[in-house]
């Protein structure tokens, strides 16, 4: 981002000017089209820290670089007039602090049983660590990011998922007012996925689900999942079967047929539901590709799987 000085040094790049011009002609209409549109981006907790890492959840250098690249992309989107909203989880980091506090993790049907103490740990990690790391990475570029949890201005109202799971919540309602206002002021909301019920009791909620619910509630143009896979595959075991474009119906079939499994299920379901509810496009990208967000948004070909209604 050396546009500041506007002086020129060094040789002209050897790249063919014709190709560069073509890419600009390709990209500019997307910039126009997405201007003032809200883009909800789910940024995966996996990319943020490595549970096996030494130290108390310190961000490793690879992760730091990935986060810095992601932050740069988000700032670029904001700078050309889009409204990026970052939603994040933090499972590995929660597990790490529980382990250090000698707290045993318990699971039921793949979901973590969350007692009061676990909830407090989750909340501290999500709001007080992961959220802070993302906010800081963005704000190196200027006073842009503001961290939120679903408790702020009652953004996310939650209800208990089931009595056995304790304080694991479902999204009951989303009031996106605070998000809209921060966007209107040119800021970048970064959202930790803790919600509350009316009595003020907090709940931990799946971040993929929250991303989808927020995208719907705010009328986003796009819902984007940055993952650590290349995209969706027709055959999970065949890298050549990567899908470039699917419909909500395709996604629903993939879940029903068991083609989408594990952590991909909430992403796929959130995409399907969001595009059915008016979000123009869903995207499942490989967050490991540098600047994947830019390539997906501003080029015809994109880099992952695009979901249409």
């Amino acid at each position: 981002m050396n546009a500041g000085t506007g002086t020129r040094a060094g040789p002209r790049p050897a790249t063919d000017a014709r190709k560069r011009a073509a890419l600009l002609v390709e990209a500019l209409p997307y910039i126009r089209r997405f201007r003032d549109k809200v883009i909800v981006v789910k940024y995966g907790g996996n990319a943020l820290g490595d549970a096996g890492d030494a130290g108390a959840g310190a961000v490793g250098s690879g992760e730091a670089a990935a986060l810095a690249s992601f932050a740069e992309d988000v700032v670029l989107l904001r700078s050309v007039g889009m409204g990026p909203v970052v939603v994040h989880g933090g499972g590995p980091q929660i597990g790490e602090l529980m382990r250090r506090l000698g707290k045993e993790a318990a699971f039921r049907d793949g979901l973590r049983v969350t007692d009061a103490e676990t909830l407090e740990i989750a909340r501290m990690v999500l709001v007080g660590k992961v959220n802070r790391d993302i906010v800081s990475a963005i704000n190196v570029h200027g006073p842009l990011a503001v961290g939120l949890s679903g408790e702020d201005a009652n953004l996310i109202t939650a209800a208990a998922h089931s009595p056995e799971l304790g304080f694991v919540g479902n999204v009951h309602d989303v009031d996106p007012t605070i998000v809209s206002r921060l966007l209107a002021e040119g800021l970048i909301p970064v959202l930790a996925t803790i919600g509350t019920d009316e009595s003020g009791q907090a709940y931990n909620i799946n971040a993929d689900t929250v991303a989808g619910a927020v995208a719907q509630a705010i009328g986003a143009e796009k819902l984007i999942f940055l993952t650590n896979v290349e995209g969706l595959r027709a055959d999970p075991s065949d890298p050549a079967s990567l899908l470039r474009q699917v419909t909500a119906a395709d996604l629903e079939r993939m879940v029903a047929d068991g083609v989408a499994v594990g952590g991909m299920v909430p992403k796929v379901e959130a995409c399907a539901q969001a595009v059915r509810a008016g979000v123009a496009r869903g995207h499942i990208l490989d967050g490991r590709v540098p600047h994947a967000l830019l390539l997906e948004l501003f080029t015809d070909a994109g880099v992952g799987t695009m979901v249409l209604p």
Copy 2:
């Protein structure tokens, strides 16, 4: 707060109507006078949890009641048009988590030596626990509070206090834009006192000092410290020597003469500096008195020590 229904039940109160009328005539001009004015309130970490309490920093029932009463006062101030900003610390809660993580605390000249791990713990506790508890207590009354840390939108720029202390910071600059905007939208900012430098490195900062710096930067009408003492005393050992009204010069003398000591020093210094810099009044109140904020703001007599320029 039963103003919602406007129906009447039960007997008229025996209280003399004349006294009640007199109090209203006394209070209403203060409401007019402070309308649209910013009131920065430092809420003490001591009141929020009891380090000796069982459980992971759970809020005891006495503390919960005090917090609920404080939250009600803040919501009432907001509802009659003032702009309350809550600033909080959380020393006891930080100590508690460190103890549980088996982390030894080290001090130099009364200040905690803060290495990277200590900082991360402090940040998790302040932003992910204490801040959340206050936000939740307020939002029981409606979608009003929004938690912030000094990292959000680069609200507080910090610099290291001294190399020996690690990541203990001083306030270098305050950009109150995000606070002002939230206030303008009828919200209540709740501020955890973590700051960052330009590289994104976080620091833990004394909450009394931050409260004073924010009050100055935003042009507050009042800077209020809720403490666990009755107010300032001319003679610390004599309860009868409680001061109702002092000047900035008085305060500076009290620090120089060693009359103000310990945790009272940063409060006294922040008050003196703030009123010299344009904040109309400082106040040091006893947060244990129910609705101390209302009594101080809306009655002629007040309940604590008021600081004039």
Copy 3:
């Protein structure tokens, strides 16, 4: 109203702080609730001057004190954001000037027969004397009150009540635009109840009726009658039968049953009609109680009779 200086002198009041805090907690939600709401207050002509008094309608000292207290209340309502509109009559003062001009009064069914000369006298007294006294009493507190008659900006269009009564009018239409605009500018409209027809002919109209019609037309929150009785009684002869709360249907029954009589009838009818037409509450208060307006508006118990739809 010594809120201006913000310094403190004299001892703390002996009153229990807990009771004072409770009253504030009780009053503040009403202030929030009525903010930006219009409150139409009918102020009785009886309170303004004493026909038996020496001098040409000079305001006696008791009346002057009552008017000053009323003016203070109205200014306080305005200062905390409500929109008070004062409507007044002036029967005794009209009678006094007629007597001095040697003009005989004639009545039919309790209504004054109003020829051209009587109308001119009434208009001079209402617009040029009573209205002025109220405006002046308010404006001692600042440039707040603006006197109006129904002729200004065609606020009240009137029609003759009956040929036999001459220029006694009924309300035909209310255009509250000028009242709304003065309110929007932070002013206090004070309204003398002269109306005109389309040809510019003036009429004298019952002030209770005008107060009700204006409250409806402007969408007031409340219509308040300040009278010289304690409130409505179930049994007019039994002071212990004072009603704290009635419905429009109750009122209509009281008129039909002859329980409400004399000057109370137009007040009761105006209240019933207004709450049926959307005014949230009617109130009939004892204007002799100091600060009756404040006690009725800002305390749960109130001081008079409240009318619900």
Copy 4:
């Protein structure tokens, strides 16, 4: 004013089209030039009623016609975008009511000694009668006029002229806010010249002086006196010496030399002071000429005496 229907009936006027076109070309630039400009017009009490008339100050038919024509002119000025402000006196009408009440008039140096009772009579007549008659005459054309006295919103602050004269006042200060706001809403303020001091005591003030003070305070474009003479004469006894154009200096000389005498003096002094203080033009017109206001404002030649700085 038959522009409403836009249909045509009857023969074309014999008047030469060329002359009519020339007058339009002459008038339109004045309309552009005075658009959004404030025009303060002093309307003489003499024209409103005839002290010798039978009845209680009833407006005679000649006076009614003159008032109707004046009202039409004022409405036309307003309709093409100017901001007319009417200021009026009412000496003859005050004298008439005093006579009817058997109150003896006393004079000192040509000024009426004004005790409390005289003041009350003057206020009733000016605010409750003369002001009302003008407001009604204008409002036949629509909801345009709003009557004011100097007490409203503390428009005119007065001070006693001299102890001997009682409640005869001088203008101490003018706060034209309420006048400006009514003008901004398309209304026509009509001003009775009662002022008050800070304690709320009313005073009767010379209307010519008030007209000049209001014109200065509001930054009027023009100050116009409608009188019952043709204009200013170089030689008061010679009709042929009518002056079409004079300067402030000329006026001051005329007062010093005794050429201007009697009731003309305050008009001449007000004009001189106003144009020296930034009012662009003063005008002294013959109010008996039908539509004198229009002819003076919209034709090159005008009909009276124009005053330049």
Copy 5:
């Protein structure tokens, strides 16, 4: 337009003041009525230049005087708050340049066959000469006129009239946004009647038809044709049969009966269609009468034929 100085010189005009006042009272309500209304004026190409004149379409002195008078009227309308839009043709001037370029004119059913070269000539003359002459004549009075063609901001979308006629177009759609915006900024749009289709191909369109379509699209108050006849006649051969007022139905009958012929037909049709579509009045005037526009708009009698719905 000597309103600028506001000083007076020379004798008062002998014209009777009463007549002058009457004309002002007549004209001012029209000014109020038409304020902020759009007036579309078709200015005839015939008046702009004389094909028989020496030189390349130079404007003769008679034409220059007529154009200057027209420009003055348009500026006066603008100055008193109306929104004049000028639409013009330029047939004679096109013919002149074709003759000079040795290009043969061909006609079919009275319409000029327009090949690519003819179109280019027409466009150069209309946009680059006639439009410029009108803009310049207006802008002598200030920076007011802005020339447009139907190509600008896609103001007029056209379609081919018939294959045989080449680039003669019909109005397919009007997007009056650019005209409205220029009007809103106090400017005077001057419109040459070239349109384009979606591919960017230009067409020459009858100016009378465009004037009508623009008046409808923009919701004009009036559509005025300045012609070189006195107005419409019931009997074309009888000057005494001039019609002062007709309806759309009358006009349609005149076309059907062959009473309206030749160049009058598109004017008559445009008027009928416009008033049926919501334009309040159509007018057909004699542009040779000096200031015909002012006389028609601001006097009861007018100077031509007025068309009602």
Copy 6:
């Protein structure tokens, strides 16, 4: 510009994603930086038509393609929030029409002697042909371009260059109001370089000079000349001496030393003067390179010569 549909077809491009991402990271900051900035682009008359072409100045297919590419670039700049202003000349097209009309061209010191007839021809060609062709080419993409000449809203006030040259003008003053307003409404002004003096007399002005004067008057960020050379050379005869970056002082020296000659002189002088007067950058580009504008604006290396203050 296929961004409209957002569906994907065909294979992913072979181009390395890393390079594409790098170009986006390079380009986006420029888009942010130039947002809401005015970019004045001088588009050469040479590129628009070929004097040797058959037909009356018809645009040849090569020229049409260049114009279409230029139009696309301008529309893209507008679509991402910049404010492009196009200024054009048209020398060859003027010469062509003169030749066809049998008008002999005369020159003095390289400037065309311009009599009244020549001026009229120039105005018809520039305003009625060249300007129209550019407007049409842009408006194929939407209702964006509005053609202007310097006569519109008195945009360019001119004065005669010298008596011998007739109606050849210099820029005397620029009033950019109309340009700013069209930009503020999202439109693209296209400016033909005819100016007028106060009497309405038109002049033909050098387009390079006008571009520079407009850029200064409007406070443009950039002044760009699209030429038919690669850029400025240190040695005009050596293609390898192309300069990538020069200062105003360098340019002034090149003119003084005779390095810049012919048609390059006014461009070089306009650039030097503009950057000295506050325009941030001047650019001299090769308009024959497809999308030269985009490459110069959005890449670090650019494609021509950049001028710094």
